[in-house]
């Protein structure tokens, strides 16, 4: 099947999804699962792969004020090593003296190696509906895709890594804002929904292994790739909290907590979401 036909099928899926108010929830879920199954049968059909390709070009291109590529960017397995790097993140980076997840590390490399302005990169970090994922997100999609099929194997044994996981768990439980929401309000039990949207039980390893490795994911409803940090930003928006900063310790800590819970789960990025 041609990509265009698959995109058309994606549009059909959008129609199916927008009609859910009238449909039986399980019938809807089955339709989405069928779409996912067809994508699995032809992995090249996920539109998010276009962004992975775009990300690969961006990784290799001489860019930024320093006109250099990311070939010297060390994602933890040595400068320029991309294969399998995502499966071992987040991790502690001695050069930065910090624990970083994939997006935070890319932000660091784009700033330090290519000379991009960090403040500028974090100012409008995520795309609006219908807009393609930003460059950093496309590179993240490329890097994550290069661990697709592998299992999450973060070490998380360095004292700062352990601290980040504990910090992430504390943030996951922390209720605040005018609605008193914590991540745990929606994600600390299985089988619950908001409207018709199923909610993963993210503090449960079995449930976390199924979903955490699907990010970055192509989102049918917004027709773009959403990265994990964008996902968290959107959660906080819905929780009535302010804008979560890209590369903040809170973002890294939550990713560290999620990945520690999902350890051993298979990576299938970019995934496909509602």
């Amino acid at each position: 099947m041609q990509l265009r036909q698959w995109l058309r099928l994606g549009a059909v899926a959008v129609v199916v999804l927008s009609a859910t108010a009238q449909a039986q929830d399980d019938a809807t879920e089955k339709a989405i699962e069928k779409y996912r199954q067809m994508l699995r049968e032809d992995p090249w059909s996920n539109p998010g792969l276009l962004d992975a390709d775009r990300g690969e070009d961006l990784w290799n291109a001489a860019r930024g004020p320093k006109k250099t590529s990311l070939a010297q960017c060390d994602l933890g397995k040595g400068p320029g090593v991309v294969d399998g790097a995502f499966a071992e993140l987040p991790r502690y980076f001695a050069d930065a003296g910090k624990v970083m997840d994939l997006e935070t590390r890319l932000l660091w490399c784009m700033d330090k190696l290519q000379g991009f302005n960090r403040a500028e990169l974090v100012r409008m970090p995520h795309p609006g509906g219908g807009q393609p994922v930003k460059e950093l997100g496309a590179i993240a999609t490329y890097v994550a895709n290069k661990s697709s099929g592998m299992k999450f194997a973060p070490k998380l044994d360095h004292p700062q890594e352990k601290e980040m996981v504990a910090l992430g768990e504390a943030l996951f439980m922390r209720r605040s804002g005018p609605f008193d929401f914590a991540c745990a309000t929606c994600h600390a039990e299985s089988g619950r929904r908001i409207r018709l949207q199923g909610l993963p039980f993210l503090s449960n390893p079995e449930a976390a292994r199924k979903v955490v490795g699907e990010w970055p994911a192509y989102r049918v409803s917004t027709t773009h790739v959403m990265t994990m940090q964008h996902r968290l930003y959107d959660c906080y928006w819905q929780m009535r909290m302010p804008e979560l900063e890209l590369g903040s310790d809170a973002s890294v800590a939550l990713v560290a907590y999620l990945v520690s819970t999902a350890a051993g789960g298979e990576i299938s990025a970019p995934g496909l979401k509602r």
Partner: protein
């Protein structure tokens, strides 16, 4: 000896469950570190949003107890919630169910993109509750409220209880997951009375 065996078996069971959670998650974290992380995570938050970053005493107690507080804390939270409730001046708890339905549907309000002038906050009740048969797109974090008023014979006392649950759910269920719509000034007294009508009015589709 039998007791020892049972104890050993129980320990084995608890160890099996305990092993689900990786050991590194058990590390203690300094509350000041958590507060500092939150403060720096939202650098664009305007001055009048800063209060959102810090949980109040009720939320601190609930988060610390994983939402199942010990008896003494339970009572403290409940008493605090009860004291915060303000009642309608005319003493009427059942308003207009049609207005209540609109509020139950609307998730608008208090997000950083919610900037439409004069648009009122919604209660977004359907996000978590089933209320009417007509609305099939409902969430399941909260219990179904179908036939809520009918099951309570439309009693005035139950209308008042429903009002209190929406105004501050901790007055009834300390560490409930539900927002404190009145105490946190998400909805006005008049809006809450309209939502009570959606649940308690004999004419409401919730009771059909």
């Amino acid at each position: 000896m039998r007791f020892a065996k049972v104890t050993a078996a129980l320990l084995a069971v608890s160890a099996a469950f305990g092993s689900e959670v990786p050991a590194q998650q058990k590390q203690k974290i300094d509350p000041a570190r958590v507060d500092g992380t939150v403060k720096s995570a939202f650098p664009t938050a305007p001055a009048d949003w800063q209060a959102r970053l810090t949980p109040d005493e009720t939320m601190q107690q609930c988060s610390a107890a994983n939402n199942t507080p010990p008896a003494a804390t339970f009572e403290t939270i409940q008493a605090r919630a009860r004291a915060s409730i303000q009642y309608p001046a005319d003493g009427k708890f059942v308003g207009n169910w049609k207005a209540g339905e609109g509020l139950a549907q609307s998730g608008y309000g208090l997000r950083f993109t919610d900037t439409t002038p004069n648009r009122v906050n919604g209660g977004n009740c359907y996000a978590c509750h089933q209320i009417t048969k007509q609305e099939v797109s409902y969430g399941t974090i909260g219990p179904s409220l179908l036939q809520y008023g009918k099951a309570r014979n439309f009693s005035e006392a139950d209308a008042k209880r429903a009002y209190e649950k929406i105004y501050d759910p901790h007055a009834s269920f300390p560490c409930s997951l539900m927002p404190r719509f009145g105490t946190n000034k998400v909805l006005t007294i008049a809006q809450i009375v309209d939502i009570v009508a959606l649940l308690m009015s004999p004419d409401s589709p919730a009771n059909k």
